[in-house]
Symmetry: D2
Subunit: 483 residues, 4 copies
């Protein structure tokens, strides 16, 4: 079966006929909705890449599957080596370069690789047969080249309380009914990136569950158009600029992100789609492995967006006529340095990855967390430096519509002219792109998601504390000092 | 003559009948325009403060004038002591606390204090009579309690070239005709904060002019409704949320900023309103002193907004049920620490201020620049920490309109419930306020303006290099080492 | 009575005939010991300043006393105004400029101002008569121009336990016997800067004591040569270079620091020298006020040393022929910026100081803690930048003795020659001074003491959390949002 | 031929009978000199590792040579794969863990790999036969398991001038005479780490030479005991503690660094030991490749020392009884995070390495520079955090000799007792180790060398600017925006 093109992908999503609550209204025909379409196009780019004219690009987007025997999209690949892990990061940087936003397709990939190894270990220990179910499911994902959302984050209510201590037990998604042929679940998953552009959802627990919390220890996959799922479209800074009908003020003219609050209102999940069910001890490893893969991801995708921000900053400096000033060059070097440090972390946790018992490859847990913790810092400094270089117009530019006004247009063109050879309108485009990333819709992905996606910094710190082998280091000191 | 109330102020602005190009359309009746009204309300708060119920507050907003003999608004006061300079910073922090945005009225105050001392020195050296003109003008400003915009930033075109080397000489505002009774000027001033909420404008040169650049060495004041001035309303991130008719999604429900590109299309300036005209050697001191006052200002106003961001961060932590976690407390302490460091710089450059020859007080030039340079850094870290504590909802919250939907509303309330005693809607309000400041309309004032207002960081670095007495330090080292 | 000269001061210390354990040996005649003499000279500079040729300097070193009616050294002055507080910081910066090290005399000044106001409040509440005793003591200090050490830091043993829970109760200094005419104390005070260069010691509790800990709530003053006190001289990095007989390798040829572990082995304290005794509730305020004054101090003295480090860095850049490189200039501007930010904090907490009930002036508690918290950070960055600019020779220079060798000397001079006009030996001197501050004896004062003197960063963070008015900020947010 | 043991290595160095100018005196018998011996032991550890009891360790220290067909020390290995490059970094971290200082043996390894590929390319282009010579030389190095110093840094004199513009042309090492059988060179190499512990030296040019500078474009290898080479031993902070006869105060009881200024006074180099001679165009690539390898190295060795600093910090926290405090744990996590970020950069530039034309593997140039630039920052923050956690005793501890004094010893033990189970003497050992690294002899390697070794930060920034593909990034932006 052939890999989909971007166009085929869009059609396939369209045929799901999903509906969502958008800006106060129940809304269908989402693929053509101006708030939604840019995010759909961003995922479409992950399909088009597999059909690129450049062989090198095609190869990056494709990989030979170990479970279906065919060449599949790398976005559905179960990693077979450290090279695969490195290629994943390269692929993500490439897609960030193309879209300058979150292209949304990594979370399912990361979920799949985590579920694959954890189900294997659960089966070995508990005698369950989850992995075969999952293989079956994933084989179809690979063959049909589907987009799968990975859903982890529960609302959590009062964070001082465990799932079973909440006033409303639904604040962590849970099984509310057990039937012979499956289970019924209720709850919600927040911050679901790209949910309405997906064919399937893999639902996972959000924390390590304990005995007594079996109803919350549930992992499964279902189609996005399953009865009982409700979608609430999230707002982003400057989101309605996408609805104004001009490509300039939106900053990123073609692509954008999507965040969806997703409610499961007594949704039935058939037995063959369940991959964990009451085995609390495997919820922790599932969360940790998924998180590690996803923290690795940020060392690719955010670096790709960072490249665009650096390029835009260098370009606006040139347009402003200041690109040869030493302090400008120095700031751009600093941006590159920070961005490449993130990339180095993404690459390193891949290069030091290892095979799981199930046979797929897991990233190095320590370095993946180090990677993400840096992602919670450096994009902010990149944004600050871009703001510095870009200049105050970033916050004071008139509307692009004024450019078309016959009275206003000439004034804007006259007074926003800068270095020779760069039309004012191009300068405005670049400024709007930078604005998009530092204080607009793009900042949701580039800044807020860099902070909270794949878990907030404190989650990474906890893992670093655990994985950092402090006792081993103390032993080395004692040996050195003869204590 | 009594100090105006906020309401009287709004009426007075309304009676100016200003018009502007807004989002592609020529627009009048600006005081009621939803994009404009919040910024007008922010300035109105600077009037209402002078009529506060609390005596302490009233006293902070008022000062005895040395030129009109009456008690005037501190926003029109010529500083008479270091206490005055300190009180200015206190006043600004207070107003930032009330409005959580730029209240726009400092720039005229800073311009007036700079023009006052520089005209005096020019008169002494050149035998001109500018200061008396300026006193006359400013006496009226004090007595009528007017809002004055200070306009400095020219478009600058190719930054590698001087004003008289530009392809288009208008890229720095200049005199294009000299008449017996005044001059005609042409050019533009970018990034004019609060321009359309002002009664008058003080126009100043944007850099230190040199011999041969006399036509650009011009300083004057004119009413905002003078013939020939054209206004182009600047966009801000998420600006159109102000037009959606809900107080929640806008984040800051009552107040907001305003940035206006202002074009002077052959505007006549009468002789009695001219305060510098061809005296190139005084353009540098004027720029430096204005800049120093305005860099001091940021040690007050941005600190006031910072207080709000800290309060909102502490409140959302409490609503999330995590306010007692050590890492949360630590982040809030860090935010306070950084914010108070900015305040310390604002206070210090005031406390070490000195009398000018003209008699008003100037801030310490070195520390004022140090103050502003810190402002180009710390608010970014405050924003980053606020984003960290607030959580991912900052980028994924559904529209407030969904709250009113009878199907959607209950789901949102159910799943966004957090710690006991805090309704989901209040949690949303706080999140939207934080979003406003870190990635919305408020970020224009809190982040972009912190970077570029009163000059970008490089401008401060140049002044610090000049004022830092490196040679004196080298001498001390030589003495210590016997070199 | 006249203020002492440096020479008179040295004689007066010599006549105390103090002894200490130094490098494994009981040692007398300390004033001439090469490890001690530099620290004595540093304090002597605080006497010589009061006799400076320059009137401005003399005025900075002197102040009119409110308790003895004479002009006294500012180092023994009870502050009467915010100007006094500001002048204290100026004085400290000046002394840092002269000595490039810790001049040790502030701690007694800070202790005195804290004891003065706390004893007054204790007397008012408890009917004690401590303040009159203290005035009597301090009057003599002023009239005889004495150096007083302030001793606060107890060893603390297991930090998880209160004083009365320690295995060894002496780990916090305490009263072991109460007699009609006084008390007998036992314990130790660590990190006593300049102890052996002092005439008197004010001993204070190290934490806020609680009921049940009355024996540890003791404050008093005694002469340094009191029977039963034992001194253990602390080592510093590269300390023995002071004993090698060359002025070059030591880095700072004339001045240096002194740290002394001080043990009180059943020392008798006469009643008239006791200023707090069992009044546990006043131990907390005493600690907090002393700490605040001392945290203010660091905004002066470390800034003064910072000036020297900046000067040395600028000078070595010139000697290396790279002083015009943009990245070098930029680093020096950054050093100035950070150093002046510290100064701004020192000035600001002074300018916002307030009168105590006793009449002397207390610094602003919040900003004094902010000041010190910055001091735990910025000197490290200054040291890092100095290391960057200075070059690798900082860690690889041969001994100054090789310069005198007839074979080696010419090679060193040939190959360490740099820019014209600077002899290699001067270049070596500057490098050794920088080494002294970033990785030598001077780093004890400039780096380690910046971290821990006046309490470690966590102590400041706790105070900032308490003083930062988080609840007030939350209230402002609620008002803004209508919550 | 078998790999040497540490002991055999020491004997082999001893037999070279090297002499140096040390602290003002001509000195022989260096291997037993207390200033030198610790550095010799550090290199000996790189030999002992190859004979470790643990197979895993042995394997890390050994590699199969492609040029001599035997298993050789990895410290003499020409890298054959990215795995080799990664193993190099692992090996360096391991050695840093063992020695807690610079073990000095990497520079020759890095020089060899650079010379190997550059000579190949030079031969191809210029018809020279350098590589065969080099292979011959290096075969012996591998078979005899020698230590080779790589000497690059010239004194440079006035940095504003090229080599041929210097007042004294010897300030860059150069050929002063050309003979049929070789050349005579004159000049000096500064900062030669481990020079006196080496058998051979590879001398390389320090910058990219240009036409007209052929005499400075010289690369060769000679034995360290060649006639005409003179050594001047560099001082380090607290170096003479190594001569005091106690293992405690020195901090690192067994190991230490060595820096040597090396003068070449008309030294003859035989033709067969010359690897570049007048081919100016290959001097640049040689410098860049060597630098890149050496910048990679710092992502291993400094990380290894960082592990020790982290372990010591965690241990002192435990000894102080504060290891469970949240702020302490947080600081240790931060230290691990920063240290692992450095490691990630070392690993990543290895994993993305590539084969040279000559067949050995070169690291990724961009990421190797990013690695080193981070090394110029993070160790400073690690040192700052360690200082914070360790406490003020770091700067005030009495001499270890006082511990042995019968009067002083018991007082020190009594008052420096902390948490149960940790003798005061062990606490002192750990504090002295931390002092060694943050402000003592170890700081030369851990801080100063981290800044300047393998080039100062500006050198890395220049490379990052060149390698960062700014134009490619601008192109991506233009494509995105349709410019």
């Amino acid at each position: 079966m052939a890999l989909k093109t971007g166009e085929e992908y869009v059609s396939s999503i369209k045929s799901l006929n999903l509906e969502a609550q958008v800006m106060g209204r129940k809304t269908g025909n989402l693929t053509e909705h101006p708030l939604v379409a840019p995010s759909l196009r961003a995922i479409a780019a992950t399909f088009d890449g597999a059909h690129s004219d450049r062989e090198e690009t095609r190869r990056l987007f494709r990989a030979p599957s170990s479970i279906c025997g065919e060449e599949v999209s790398r976005f559905t690949h179960l990693h077979r080596s450290t090279e695969d892990l490195i290629d994943k990061v390269r692929l993500q940087r490439h897609c960030g370069n193309v879209t300058a936003c979150c292209f949304q397709r990594c979370v399912g990939l990361d979920a799949a690789n985590a579920v694959f190894s954890v189900t294997h270990e659960c089966d070995q220990k508990q005698g369950t047969a989850y992995q075969e179910r999952f293989r079956e499911f994933w084989r179809r994902v690979q063959l049909e080249d589907l987009v799968v959302d990975g859903a982890m984050t529960d609302p959590k209510g009062d964070r001082g309380r465990r799932p079973n201590e909440q006033k409303d037990p639904d604040l962590y998604l849970r099984v509310v009914e057990r039937r012979p042929d499956g289970v019924v679940v209720r709850g919600a998953k927040l911050h679901q990136t790209g949910m309405l552009n997906s064919h399937e959802i893999i639902v996972m627990p959000t924390i390590s569950m304990r005995p007594g919390e079996e109803d919350w220890a549930i992992c499964f996959a279902i189609p996005t158009n399953t009865t009982g799922i409700r979608y609430f479209y999230g707002r982003q800074a400057s989101d309605t600029r996408k609805m104004e009908g001009t490509r300039i003020d939106v900053g990123n003219p073609d692509y954008g992100g999507q965040e969806v609050m997703t409610v499961f209102e007594d949704v039935f999940v058939p037995e063959e789609r369940i991959f964990l069910n009451r085995e609390v001890e495997f919820s922790g490893p599932l969360v940790e492995r998924f998180a590690a893969y996803h923290r690795q991801s940020y060392g690719g995708c955010k670096v790709g967006v960072g490249d665009i921000l650096i390029g835009a900053t260098a370009l606006i400096a040139r347009m402003n006529g200041v690109d040869r000033a030493s302090h400008i060059k120095d700031k751009i070097v600093e941006m590159i340095h920070l961005n490449e440090t993130l990339y180095a972390c993404g690459i390193a946790c891949s290069a030091l990855g290892h095979a799981t018992v199930a046979g797929n490859y897991q990233v190095d847990m320590l370095l993946a967390n180090v990677c993400k913790l840096n992602v919670t810092r450096f994009p902010y400094e990149l944004a600050r430096l871009a703001t510095d270089v870009a200049g105050g117009l970033l916050g004071t530019l008139p509307s692009a519509k004024d450019l078309e006004d016959e009275v206003a247009g000439p004034y804007i063109r006259k007074y926003l002219a800068a270095a020779d050879g760069f039309p004012a309108v191009d300068r405005i485009k670049v400024l709007r792109l930078i604005e998009n990333l530092v204080a607009g819709a793009g900042s949701v992905s580039y800044l807020i998601e860099s902070m909270h996606g794949a878990g907030p910094p404190t989650a990474q710190r906890i893992m670093i504390g655990r994985q950092g082998d402090v006792e081993g280091k103390i032993e080395k000191v004692k040996r050195l000092l003869g204590i």
